[in-house]
């Protein structure tokens, strides 16, 4: 009978490696051009998520029975560069942490992935791109599990990026239609801003601790005379000015990933993807990843009242904005997206207020509820009609609740989704595009003048052929 640490480490390895095995299987067969049947794909998805979930639950059980709060599975240094004595050495450790934060989140991930995976095998039946969907689905699972269990900031970044890429590609899954593609691009741009902030934070943290380990960054706290490193008892070891810089970068990263203000515009756009991916990504897991990041690095927030205040304001503002906007949506998925965002805003505010278990429980409960609602969304009209037929009358309709001039303004504000996308477009995108398009035209003219002829192959001019609105979106 293996001892607890060995068993726990082995099971932990299974939890981590299972999604990658699925990813390599689905991705590898696609690359070598081997056709997979739908049944084979479905079996692979069901088996791997099942194995991952069972292994994760056993780890949770072992930790509870052995009263372990913090278990580490380390794969050693992925990269180790011995620098000269005048510089800090570079370590890139692959380390995963099983604690009170990561294990419930990972179990939730597997549970929802397994459930929605089974649902999707039926929902996507004979859909063009069935295998593509599940390949991206496995990429997302790998990213989520990696980000949830990450013990270093770089490992978290690794998972974070996989989540971003797979999300954007799944938003554009129905790539024959223009709207999903435009929205996928919009999602990608916001994710890249978020990723850039996280990468900077990761590099700065890595630089400060020569390794990026959360344990080193967040240190230990004395509980009942013992050093406790486990979440949520970490304490920040960084100087105040560094905490502020890193904290702000992390807040930007979290805001992008969780669609907080001013990045909220991408969330309803992401609903162009297939319903199963909308359910599990934007209703349940991906949208909570920003909040998860803030929970993981909570000692930074504890160390800085300024950061905590910013987080509370950001969360509450997002919640108010989203609850207003959700009330005027005319399609079920957008309404659910904003309803989801309302809860995410509240979760973020809870984190800013210094609570730890309440937001975690809020994430778990909200993710499960919202997944169910998203999955039911396509049949809600039929349900509605069935109830009305049964009643023999129309169902009562609620009033908008808006009164007077304020009500009209609030209605317009909500209908335009707070003009957030338009503001970002006008302030950042339009000047950027105008500047570089102007430079491009200028460079083309120089080339034509110097070469003293027209290009032999007719190069398209930079003038957009689409309407300005579409061009902006593209």
């Amino acid at each position: 009978m293996p001892d607890f640490p060995t068993l726990s480490a082995n099971l932990g390895t299974v939890v981590i490696s299972v999604p990658f095995a699925l990813m390599f299987y689905l991705g590898g067969t696609t690359l070598i051009g081997r056709k997979r049947s739908e049944a084979a794909t479905a079996r692979a998805v069901t088996a791997t998520t099942g194995v991952g979930l069972i292994a994760g639950l056993i780890v949770l059980g072992l930790m509870l029975t052995n009263d372990t709060q913090h278990d580490v599975v380390s794969f050693g240094d992925w990269v180790h560069v011995e620098t000269p004595v005048t510089e800090k050495p570079f370590h890139f450790a692959i380390k995963f942490v099983f604690d009170r934060l990561s294990v419930p989140f990972t179990a939730l991930t597997y549970l929802l992935f397994g459930t929605i995976g089974v649902f999707a095998t039926k929902y996507m039946h004979r859909e063009e791109g069935y295998n593509r969907f599940f390949t991206l689905y496995s990429l997302f699972l790998a990213g989520m599990v990696t980000a949830a269990l990450a013990g270093t900031i770089e490992t978290l970044f690794f998972g974070w990026e996989l989540v971003g890429l797979s999300s954007a590609l799944l938003v554009g899954f129905f790539h024959n239609r223009p709207a999903p593609v435009r929205n996928a691009f919009r999602v990608w741009v916001v994710y890249r801003i978020s990723d850039a902030a996280l990468l900077l934070a990761a590099v700065v943290l890595h630089h400060m601790s020569s390794g990026g380990d959360f344990d080193k960054l967040t240190g230990y706290q004395q509980i009942d005379g013992h050093d406790v490193a486990a979440w949520p008892y970490g304490v920040c070891r960084l100087p105040a000015n560094q905490v502020l810089i890193v904290g702000l970068l992390l807040i930007i990263a979290a805001a992008g990933k969780s669609a907080l203000i001013p990045f909220s515009g991408w969330l309803p756009r992401a609903m162009e993807g297939p319903t199963p991916s909308s359910a599990v990504f934007y209703g349940a897991l991906s949208v909570h990843l920003g909040a998860y990041l803030l929970l993981r690095l909570d000692p930074l927030l504890d160390a800085s009242p300024v950061l905590s205040t910013i987080v509370v304001i950001l969360g509450l503002a997002t919640a108010i904005f989203a609850t207003l906007t959700a009330r005027v949506q005319t399609d079920i998925k957008s309404a659910l997206a904003f309803a989801s965002l309302t809860q995410v805003g509240l979760i973020v505010a809870e984190i800013g207020l210094g609570w730890r278990y309440i937001p975690l429980v809020h994430i778990l409960g909200h993710a499960c509820l919202r997944t169910m609602q998203f999955v039911r969304a396509p049949s809600v009209i039929r349900d509605h009609n069935a109830i009305e037929y049964a009643l023999g009358d129309r169902l009562p309709r609620g009033s908008s609740g808006f009164l007077g001039k304020f009500g009209v303004r609030a209605y317009r504000f909500a209908l335009e989704r707070g003009h957030l996308d338009a503001i970002l477009d006008r302030v950042f995108c339009a000047p950027f595009l105008a500047l570089f398009r102007g430079i491009d035209r200028f460079e083309r003219r120089i080339a034509i003048t110097v070469n003293d002829d027209q290009p032999t192959v007719e190069a398209p001019v930079a003038t957009p052929s689409l309407s300005p609105a579409k061009e902006r979106a593209i």
Binding site: T30, L31, G33, W78, V79, V81, T83, P84, V85, T86, E87, K88, F90, F92, E128, E154, F157, F158, E161, L162, L165, A168, G172, H175, N176, P178, V181, A184, F185, W188, R192, A196, L199, L200, V203, V204, H206, H207, F432, L433, L435, F436, I439, D440, E443, A447, V450, N451, D452, D453, P455, T456, V457, A459, P460, V461, A462, S465, L466, I474
Partner: protein, 452 residues
């Protein structure tokens, strides 16, 4: 003396020359293609042997059989050039594998093989004057091809003329101990690397020349090699800082322009310029991490950009010159090319899991240590490039389906080429320690580390 003790660099350079002579005797394009493939595979094997011999006596001048210049060996496989030779050879193999059958009649195999020999010779040359001669010679080959096709490119000619003149006068000044020497060499490097504002020739060259030729001329990033061999050892700090600042500006400028392009070749040219400039930024920062990262980026970017270029070239071969003014919807007909575009594109930007990831991390980490503003700028540049790559992916491969009735996915030769690329990009990304250590040793061999 046995076969294994032959001078490795000279063997790798000699094979394509022999191949070029053989190809001249063949009239049938299919046979010429086969000869070219065999020659290039042999070159790849020879260059791998050369790399494996780094640090041993056979890498230098066994049995006195190597070419010399005033008694000094011209070609040497050292830690810097060791991995560059297989890289250059591999790019040539992949290019010839992915050349479409319809283009064989128009392809100058002799020219390509001579070009390969010149590039291999350049990347293994350590003597300044022969290196300058090789660099000058390398600029002539693309011009000849363009002239044969009836294409005029004054931008290319003027820039390359300036490059050669600056290089010759710069090195002459350095040898004469004139203080202007490093500045002239700096200008030469900036021109050859396509650094702003001397970057227009790169875009023009990609627009006009054959894509394969332009790709092979540009992607090994010879400007970085010139900087390492001729400029950095002789230049004062102010010259290095100038290279760094100009390259950083170019990286962001080109990334911004890549986002707004409406022609796929121009997009590729700007993407190339942005990434090539990043390598030069890393060289200037003078921390061991940034130098290691820069050398790592050099290899990963050359590999990934080469792959990206080959994907675009294959797409062009099927659908003609590509405009980015509308969605082309090519995914359903060419899924492998779509995947290839994404993998190589993300390899360029250092996406996690690809070879460039750790190199990029090292570079940004070193930059943060040397100058936080540079670190922020590097992250911003990567963000812009990733946006540009996904934009082009969406424009090329999504949208209303292309309705061609003939199969347009890749042939087995291209699939082999792309799978080889994918394997290298992913293996380099998933097991980076070995090759990053090799890059670290290469960086250390340059004697540029702080304590040295």
């Amino acid at each position: 003396m046995n076969l294994l003790s032959l001078p490795r660099a000279e063997v790798a350079i000699g094979i394509p020359i022999i191949g070029a002579i053989l190809v001249r005797t063949v009239r049938d394009p299919a046979r010429a293609d086969r000869v070219a493939i065999v020659s290039r595979i042999l070159v790849l094997v020879a260059s791998l042997f050369a790399w494996a011999s780094v640090g041993t006596e056979t890498a230098l001048c066994p049995w006195g059989a190597c070419l010399t210049f005033f008694g000094r060996p011209i070609f040497t496989v050292d830690r810097l050039s060791g991995s560059l030779l297989p890289l250059v050879a591999l790019l040539h193999v992949l290019t010839v594998l992915s050349t479409s059958r319809v283009k064989r009649n128009r392809t100058s195999y002799t020219g390509h093989l001579i070009g390969e020999a010149a590039r291999l010779a350049t990347f293994s040359c350590i003597e300044p004057w022969p290196l300058i001669a090789l660099l000058a010679f390398s600029t002539i080959l693309p011009y000849i091809e363009m002239a044969q096709r009836g294409l005029r490119s004054r931008l290319y000619v003027w820039h390359m003329l300036a490059f050669v003149v600056l290089l010759i006068s710069g090195w002459f000044a350095v040898e004469s101990k004139w203080s202007v020497g490093p500045i002239l060499l700096l200008a030469a490097v900036l021109v050859r690397s396509g650094t702003f504002p001397a970057h227009l020739w790169v875009v023009d060259h990609f627009e006009r020349a054959a894509f394969g030729t332009a790709l092979l001329f540009a992607t090994p990033i010879a400007g970085v090699y010139v900087a390492l061999r001729l400029v950095i050892p002789n230049a004062p700090d102010v010259v290095l800082q100038t290279i760094g600042i100009a390259s950083l500006v170019t990286a962001i400028y080109a990334a911004g322009l890549a986002i707004v392009q409406t022609d796929v070749r121009r997009f590729f040219a700007y993407t190339f310029l942005s990434h090539a400039s990043i390598v030069l930024v890393g060289l200037e920062l003078h921390t061991s991490l940034s130098l290691t990262g820069a050398l790592g980026m050099w290899v990963s970017v050359a590999l990934s950009l080469g792959g990206l270029g080959l994907c675009l070239r294959a797409v062009e071969a099927r659908y003609g010159r590509l405009s980015l003014n509308r969605h082309l919807g090519l995914y359903e007909k060419s899924p492998m090319l779509a995947i290839g575009f994404l993998v190589t594109g993300f390899g360029c930007i250092g996406f996690p899991g690809t070879a460039g990831f750790i190199a990029n991390e090292l570079l940004v980490d070193g930059a943060i240590e040397a100058n936080p503003v540079v670190g922020v700028a590097l992250v911003f540049e990567a963000m812009l490039n990733s946006i540009a790559i996904v934009r082009v992916y969406l424009l090329l491969f999504t949208g209303t389906q292309n309705t061609s009735s003939v199969p347009l996915d890749v042939t087995w030769r291209k699939r082999v080429a792309m799978l080889t690329l994918f394997a290298l990009i992913f293996v380099g990304g998933l097991a980076p320690n070995v090759w990053i250590h090799e890059r670290y040793e290469a960086a250390r061999s340059l004697n540029l580390f702080p304590e040295e």
